[in-house]
């Protein structure tokens, strides 16, 4: 099955325990059970079962991608094999243009820590991946219910828990006081690829990562 043991695992010098290697779920029944739990949120099980960021369900986000934004489904149940019960983790999302040089598609430095690259440093993804978002690990056990999107009181939570909109913030580039992770609009008619990484909050080391997503092209305006 394509994807098993394909991506890099960083080995930290002198650490007591090697990070657990990422194993693609070749057991299709396990995946099917997880997908059925998420109900209509997920597309039907794709032939390529290696885990990578997916576009948000087109029934929920009907206009996706737009000229400068891409809405991605959050990584539900993708990192479960790497989570330890007593530790806190975060998910980092990296984005880069497909035209970026293949060699610079690493998202960690030599010590296993995830890169702190920004949109501006990477020229919007042309030179390599930039960090677009940091958020908490999505809850695999109780994913958001897509039917709740119809309820105006719950829709904000459902959208926040289910997807992330890359390119949402049009002002952070020009705001000198902005200290958080900047997620500026993407370029139209350009192909991007995205990657989620799992980072341990205590030591800041990357514990797991997905593959780079399939190329996703933003819309082209005339």
């Amino acid at each position: 099955m394509e994807g098993s043991l394909q991506h890099q695992v960083t080995w930290q010098q002198g650490s007591a325990l090697p990070p657990r290697p990422f194993v693609a779920r070749s057991d299709s029944t396990d995946l099917a059970a997880l997908r059925s739990r998420l109900g209509r949120l997920l597309k039907p099980a794709v032939k390529d079962q290696s885990l990578r960021p997916q576009l948000a369900d087109p029934q929920l986000a009907t206009s996706n991608p737009t000229l400068t934004t891409v809405a991605l489904e959050k990584p539900f149940c993708m990192f479960d094999s790497s989570l330890s019960p007593n530790k806190s983790y975060s998910v980092y999302l990296y984005a880069m243009m497909e035209s970026a040089i293949a060699g610079s598609s690493l998202v960690t430095d030599h010590s296993g820590k995830p890169l702190n690259s920004t949109f501006q440093q990477m020229s919007g993804g042309q030179l390599g991946p930039y960090k677009a978002a940091v958020f908490s690990v999505p809850n695999c056990a109780s994913p958001p219910n897509p039917a709740d999107a119809a309820d105006i009181n719950k829709v904000a939570d459902v959208l926040k828990q289910y997807l992330f909109r890359v390119g949402d913030d049009g002002t952070c580039l020009h705001d000198p006081n902005f200290l958080d992770v900047c997620n500026p609009p993407l370029a139209p008619d350009t192909t991007y690829r995205f990657k989620y990484t799992l980072v341990d909050n205590t030591d800041g080391i990357m514990k797991d990562q997905t593959l780079w997503s399939d190329p996703i092209k933003t819309r082209r305006g005339d």
Partner: protein, 259 residues
């Protein structure tokens, strides 16, 4: 002589009846055209900006023609009752002039309807909606008219764009040059709004979540009233003209028989 008298009376009666019908139709035409000119749907600025407001010109002519028909029908009735050649001659000449005007109005309304295509309104919407850098005062007025009309259309009919919200994504527009796609994939009037006219959920609207944005296009809301106006003026006018033609023929025959 009695038979002659009877047939004359019958013919007079028919002419009077014909003129009564013309009079009533004239009033109806005036009323219909006043209704159209009053622009209840507020779509006139779109036609004005397209420089193609001939269906409104046709409606204006219809108002005056209707009134003229009513007055002339009264003149015709008096002329037939009195069997006065002068009166009837005046009636025939004026009726022919009115006939010509009404013919022009009907043809204008019928043919200009063909200009009102979705692409015309799409192009206009993309070029003028929220256009900020206007060349001159006329341009500014037209753009403001188009912007205001579209805002009203989208709010009242719960629609977006001409074919749908994808119009704003697929084509470049004046709106796109001043509003970023990240914040405004389409205007916020396309969102489902609450009582205070702010979007119920802005993120849902921007993503296109069903129920939080208007997914259908406004073309039906534009073309419906305009087609009704064009057809209403054109076909009612043609119907009146057919009837008037018959009455005119009868009146000319009657006039020629008065000694």
């Amino acid at each position: 002589m009695a038979k002659d008298d009877n047939s004359v009376r019958i013919f007079q009666g028919l002419l009077i009846l014909g003129n009564v019908v013309i009079g009533m139709c004239g009033i109806a035409l005036t009323a219909e055209c006043i209704f159209f000119v009053s622009d209840p749907h507020g779509l006139y600025p779109l036609l004005e900006a397209a420089e193609n407001d001939d269906i409104y010109a046709a409606a204006w002519i219809g108002i005056f023609v209707g009134f003229a028909l009513f007055s002339l029908s009264v003149l015709g009735i008096i002329g037939v009752i009195k069997s006065n050649r002068t009166l009837l001659m005046v009636y025939i000449i004026l009726m022919l002039i009115t006939f010509a005007f009404e013919m022009a109005s009907c043809i204008t309304a019928a043919t200009h309807r063909d200009f009102l295509t979705p692409n015309l309104f799409l192009k206009q919407m993309l070029e003028r909606y929220e256009k900020q850098d206007t060349d001159n005062n006329n341009d500014k007025l037209m753009s403001e008219g188009v912007t205001k009309t579209w805002n009203n259309l989208m709010l009242q009919n719960h629609c977006c764009g001409v074919h749908g919200p994808s119009d704003w994504q697929q084509y470049g527009s004046a709106f796109r040059s001043t509003h970023s796609d990240a914040d405004y994939p389409w205007p916020h009037q396309c969102c489902v709004l609450d009582a205070r006219e702010s979007p119920v959920n802005l993120d849902g609207c921007k993503l296109g979540v069903p129920g939080y944005y208007n997914s259908n296009g406004c073309y039906d809301a534009i073309s419906g009233p305009m087609n009704r106006q064009a057809w209403g003026v054109a076909w009612f006018g043609f119907a009146i003209l057919c009837w008037t033609f018959l009455v005119l023929l009868g009146t000319m025959f009657y006039w020629s028989r008065i000694e």
